[in-house]
């Protein structure tokens, strides 16, 4: 039987991870397209995108806090103009998770985009397709397996994000207390090992389900285009 804490934390984790991944997807697509195309500044952009991967998540959370906290100019403006408060709010947890898992999405997308034969764009152009139509009818469907793989990896990673959420959005049950934070709290409570154990089992099950689902879908998509896992034709 799942208790209130487990249900709340699980649902919240799923919500935070889903919003984090879906919300950052358009930007990831944009950045990956830019990186795949190359050109000046690619190296710097690439480094910036990967920064959250090498920084301690606590640092990411802290940086978010000093830029988007209610006391900070940008955070104050958001609260004032859009009544959007990120700190101590689940949207803040989603933002923190999005920043930390952003590199996973960009990486997978970039690989998928780079694997597309540039000749296909010429063929599409010769058939009268505008840049937007080329993106919609050629780039997007061919990058879909990569997009899916990246999104699933990012989703699984977002489910497990701890440091950035803890620092930026804090550990508020029912609001920002995702599974890892609930596990942490349970372990801090005397006699909370049983609860922690249940939460850990849940976390493992969720992560595994996500990875299997994503890999299966990506395989199906790749098989359709004749791409094999090892070698992209």
């Amino acid at each position: 039987m799942m208790g209130d804490v487990e249900t709340l934390a699980t649902l919240l984790s799923l919500k935070v991870a889903a919003v984090a991944v879906l919300g950052s997807l358009p930007l990831a697509l944009l950045v990956a397209t830019r990186l795949a195309r190359g050109g000046p500044g690619t190296l710097l952009l690439d480094a910036l995108v990967h920064l959250p991967l090498v920084l301690p998540p606590v640092v990411v959370g802290y940086l978010l806090l000093i830029t988007l906290g209610t006391q900070a100019p940008l955070g104050g403006w958001l609260k004032e103009m859009l009544s959007l408060r990120l700190v101590f709010h689940w949207t803040g947890a989603a933002l923190a998770a999005a920043v930390v898992t952003f590199p996973f999405q960009v990486r997978a997308l970039r690989l998928a985009l780079e694997a597309i034969d540039p000749g296909l764009y010429r063929a599409a152009q010769s058939l009268g397709l505008s840049p937007w139509a080329r993106f919609r009818r050629v780039t997007f469907p061919l990058a879909l397996p990569g997009l899916l793989a990246g999104a699933i990896t990012a989703f699984a990673a977002a489910l497990g994000e701890f440091g950035a959420i803890m620092t930026f959005a804090a550990n508020i049950p029912g609001e920002t207390q995702t599974l890892p934070l609930a596990i942490y709290s349970a372990l801090q409570t005397p006699g909370g090992e049983t609860a922690a154990g249940r939460l850990v089992a849940l976390a493992i099950a969720l992560a595994l389900a996500g990875l299997l689902l994503g890999e299966g879908a990506a395989r199906r998509l790749r098989a359709r285009t004749g791409q094999t896992l090892g070698s992209l034709r």
Binding site: D117, L120, R122, A123, S126, G128, L129, R224, G226
Partner: protein, 338 residues
């Protein structure tokens, strides 16, 4: 009608090509790597560094302040590689372009003429080279193009399908008054489909060429010799004279059924003529010529290709020729070269 004058510099590669008189059916010929595909890409607007002008009818595609983007040029393009969309079936590839105007041939006709019915449900990676090439050709025709830019479109096709594809293109170009630019290294294809020829030749690091009427272009020193004869009966033999020797060509394999009666002409490439020593395929007793003339070493088994030393030196003994190939022209195409 196409008229253009283009120059292009890309690293160490330089290209200069023009067609000053408007031509409707233009063949680009030249050795591999000379820049035929690059010229096609420049005509299509894919080469941003290309400078000059491209006029199609009264429209300016390149030149002036800025050129039209490739997608606005109403192309019907077949690239060196089929470039089919791998996430789509052959049928979806054929229907990929959604032109505003109806295409010059219907989907059903393309499928029937190019024998594509069996491959329609397959995806690109499940097609053979020839099948993919036919789908690519069909896709270009169904885009309702104003002109066709074809890069070796028959390279992977077997003879029967090559003939069918060639006839379809010929018909569409004729019926719709389309402009055709065909890059090929087969003279036979150029002569069958085109009335102008642009030979691209690399000299001093620059690939250059100008379009000329076909007959004029074929008049050069290394060009094939035009000979003609009359077919007495369907599948009969054409007789040609070359250097005092009589060459016999069995014309039937080169002709379509409806062209197998009446007068025919043929183009013979010197490289298709092989010499045999008199009466013997054996290397022994081969006549020995010096210099650029025939040399016995190159006549081993009577099979080696050589360039005809014309005229043959007198008194060097009889030499028999066999002809390995000839471009036999049906009556309808004789005017193009006569």
């Amino acid at each position: 009608m196409l008229r253009f004058s283009l120059t292009l510099k890309k690293g160490a590669f330089a290209l200069r090509a023009d067609a000053r008189e408007p031509c409707q059916r233009l063949a680009l010929m030249g050795p591999s790597g000379v820049g035929k595909s690059t010229l096609l890409a420049a005509l299509a607007g894919f080469e941003r560094q290309a400078q000059g002008t491209v006029h199609l009818g009264d429209r300016i595609l390149t030149g002036g302040k800025q050129g039209l983007a490739p997608e606005a040029r109403q192309l019907g393009m077949v690239f060196q590689r089929p470039l089919l969309f791998p996430h789509l079936t052959a049928e979806d590839n054929l229907r990929f372009a959604r032109p505003a105007a109806p295409p010059p041939v219907s989907f059903e006709e393309v499928v029937a003429r190019l024998d594509l019915a069996p491959v329609l449900p397959r995806r690109a990676h499940q097609l053979s080279g020839g099948e993919a090439q036919r789908v690519a050709l069909g896709r270009a025709l169904l885009a309702a193009p104003a002109w066709l830019l074809l890069d070796e479109p028959f390279a992977n096709l077997d003879p029967a399908r090559r003939e069918a594809a060639l006839a379809l293109i010929d018909e569409v170009v004729e019926r719709q008054g389309l402009t055709l630019v065909l890059a090929t290294h087969r003279l036979e294809e150029a002569v069958s489909l085109c009335d102008h020829l642009l030979p691209l030749i690399e000299e001093n690091g620059v690939s250059a060429g100008s379009a000329q009427p076909l007959a004029q272009a074929l008049g050069g020193a290394r060009a094939p010799t035009l000979v003609s004869g009359t077919l007495q009966e369907a599948g009969g033999t054409l007789e040609f004279c070359y250097g005092g020797q009589t060459l016999r060509v069995k014309a039937a394999p080169f002709l379509r059924a409806e062209d197998r009666a009446g007068p025919a002409a043929a183009l013979i490439d010197p490289q298709d003529v092989r010499a045999l020593a008199a009466g013997a395929p054996a290397p022994l007793g081969c006549p020995r010529f010096e210099g650029q003339r025939l040399s016995a070493d190159r006549l081993r088994h009577g099979e080696d290709v050589f360039t005809l030393p014309a005229p043959l030196p007198p008194g060097e003994g009889p030499v028999a020729f066999t002809l390995l190939g000839a471009t036999v022209l049906p009556p309808r195409r004789r005017d193009a070269v006569a």
